[in-house]
Amino acid sequence: MTPNLVQFTHADLSAIAPEMMLALTGCLILLIEAFAPGLRRWFATLALAGVAGSLYFLLEAPRGTTFGGRFDTSSLTVLMGLFLGAAAVLAILMAKPYLERTGEEKGEFYALLLWGHLGVSLMTRGLDLLIIFIGLETLSLSFYVLAGFFRSVAASSEAGLKYFLTGAFGSAFTLYGVALLFGASGGTKIEGLARPGLAESPAVIFGLLLLLVGFGFKMSIAPFHAWAPDVYQGMPTPAVAYLSVAPKGASLIALYRVFSAAFEGGMPDRFRTAIIALAILSMTLGNVVALAQRDIKRLLAYSGIAQMGYVMISLAVFGRDALGAAIVFFFAYLASNAGAFAAVAALYRDETKPHPVALLAGAGRRSPFAAAVLALCLFSLAGIPATAGFIGKFFLFKAALEKGLYALALAGIANSLISIGYYLKVVYILYMREPVEPDAPPALAPADRFALALCAAAILGFGIFPSTLWEVARRAAATLPFAGP
């Protein structure tokens, strides 16, 4: 009757080893910061090693659920782990030269990044609403701090405040949603939702909507997006690169988990319509407002809002192929968006000031590599073929059409057209406008160069040879129960 006080099996340990690796690396960095600040320049390497180690453990971890069915190690989580890990790697790579430039190279940055990363990882792996919520909060708390990391810069502090207030507000709703679902299902496990007829219960619908809103907030889906532009603008760019990609993917997976459990009989029409509306609103608002942006980071924020609108297509279709498509899309989005932010980090000299697009004028000549990668990333975000972005949209639109969601597909197409307007505007400034700043930008740091090269290679690689990724994503998606294909 009395359970062992600590039930901690070897399987549990192996399953959680990746997260432990991250937590410990963070601690180690902090310890070094405190006791051997001379070793600062190794922080990035250490952090990379931590991420690499965590990925190693993740790949090695035995498949299956652990912690009494509350923690998942499946092809889906491994694939998402790779996705998140890649985002972390890129963020760390660009963080090093970035922090060096700004003189803010502190161990806390890496530690918080790693812990935030841990939180995101929990979000993808948790089979328990509470775990997911804790992961979400870990992520949020770390990134509230990272948003305000440049304490000497008012904008950064303001970003911290805005992110914190909206984030906490959103979390409260998520929490209330968790509470409702807990009450309705009798437990925190997601699988508990998979009881026939439960999805018709008003409390469950209410709770699911609150979760949708809460995670939608993290994904910056309109109208829950308003924080994103301000926060992106004030936040240190490497942290944005991570924040604009990883939590969004994890949120989608969490939503998928919850929905696939709750909607075993298929998504109710009203729900689907609501998601379609969100998708269209998000795409349209994001794209149209992005047209009017003057700051590259805000522009990318709105572009991200629009991109998440495309992702919502997947949720509206709601099926195995749709999830696979979303995963492919996220991989593409990772390479393109993180690449774009990496290029932005490399192309602007003064990090503490705003990043007007106009300053990029002539960058094509001043800093050809970074500019070329930025252009490539933007084309990928625009969905031009032979880039990863196109492949992502290809599968999403395919899923929408298969499901018969023609209006959604058409809206997506119309939005793609609008988006080209601002993506090309940046490209135009990069290459076709005479520079306003005659002096050369800082030379590209090796880490930046590497990050950019990685992104470019990924964009083209996935863009030209997408079949492996698609196969893997589809298999991963198959680990969730779905009513349909």
Binding site: L141, Y144, E158, G160, L161, F164, L165, A168, F169
Partner: protein, 103 residues
């Protein structure tokens, strides 16, 4: 029915508190007061969790609340630190006046 208290009553109280919290978060301009309201929202959720737990006859509700309190504490620490950091720049925590980042 928990003892003599119907679950729906608990939930109604929780819902009322939650709504009051939202109202505060939306209507106040002082960041600290906004944050207080958010704390209230979380407490409303806690009440619901406790109520549900009791009604279900499980301790899980309490466990969740336990974690939520921990999270709320952590959030408070970070949030207040953010307010302090911002206050050094702006000398105010009236969010109406904090709009460097916009448009």
């Amino acid at each position: 029915m928990i003892g003599s208290i119907p679950l729906s009553d608990v939930l109604l109280v929780s819902g009322a508190l939650f709504s009051i919290g939202i109202a505060g978060a939306l209507l106040r301009r002082n960041a600290i007061q906004i944050f207080l309201s958010i704390e209230l929202m979380m407490n409303a959720a806690n009440l619901a969790l406790i109520g549900y737990g009791a009604a279900l006859g499980t301790r899980e509700g309490q466990i969740i609340v336990f974690f939520v309190i921990a999270i709320a504490a952590a959030e408070a620490a970070v949030g207040l630190a953010i307010f302090v950091a911002l206050f050094r720049h702006t000398e105010t925590i009236d969010v109406n006046k904090i709009n460097l980042l916009k448009w």
